[in-house]
Symmetry: C2
Subunit: 145 residues, 2 copies
């Protein structure tokens, strides 16, 4: 799967007359290691400890490139900032339950919702590109506190 993403990254760079660079590659490799969701500042802080000279603008630019190339997808989770995650096309689309107390994000997938979504779109003559379903509430742990 990592190989798939590498191909997507490389070909995007190729097709758009961009260049690879030490930092670009390093950010890409770093992001590949991440499980789950992250913000630009999350990876900026992490990469700072390895490469103290890096600027946050470079992270922003690289993340934009990765979204444009399809390596990452972006969500807002109802906040006014970007959250990112690896966009693995081989994995089924998933949705999120977000704990409003501790911020924990639980991923899930529902075939029922998936197929109903298509029925609804059909009824409205709407062509679906993507969807985002977020459920807000309390996770198991926070209910007990």
């Amino acid at each position: 799967m990592t190989a798939q993403l590498k191909i997507r990254y490389d070909s995007y760079i190729q097709e758009n007359q961009l260049k690879s660079s030490r930092r670009r590659d390093m950010i890409f490799e770093h992001i590949l290691q991440i499980q789950g969701h992250f913000t630009v500042d999350n990876i900026y802080q992490e990469i700072l400890t390895i490469d103290s000279g890096i600027g946050i603008a470079t992270i922003y630019r690289t993340v934009r490139l990765l979204v444009a190339s399809g390596v990452l997808s972006e969500q807002t989770f109802g906040e006014k900032k970007g959250w990112f995650e690896i966009n693995d096309l081989k994995v089924e689309h998933h949705d999120h339950m977000i704990c409003t107390s501790c911020g924990k994000i639980i991923e899930f997938h529902s075939k029922v919702i998936e197929s109903n979504k298509h029925e609804i779109a059909k009824a409205h003559c709407f062509i679906i590109y993507s969807h985002k379903l977020e459920i807000f509430g309390l996770c198991n742990t926070c209910q007990k506190q």
Copy 2:
């Protein structure tokens, strides 16, 4: 329904030792007339033409009050700014299809999704407060262009 919202507005002000004021009331009344979704800047521009002395901070403060009192609900629609709409509790919860070409928003409701959502939450021992489902794609009109 407008009466319902007025009660919610008035009692929130009462219960929180706030005051009503000419501008607060005017913004509230203005928002009641709005069909569909709007941003703070939308109503600011509109109200400016009636009350040229108003400041955008007042709109922000009033909209926050209306969200806190349950008169309005807020969504991001994947953007990094707030979109608001009247939160009529008597109307069933609805979701949104957003045309990525013209920005048109189509509202819909699905009992199937509604009940499936509760099954999923139950399976994860998650207590639902709210949910947001956004479908992005092309509306009927934009498909033909």
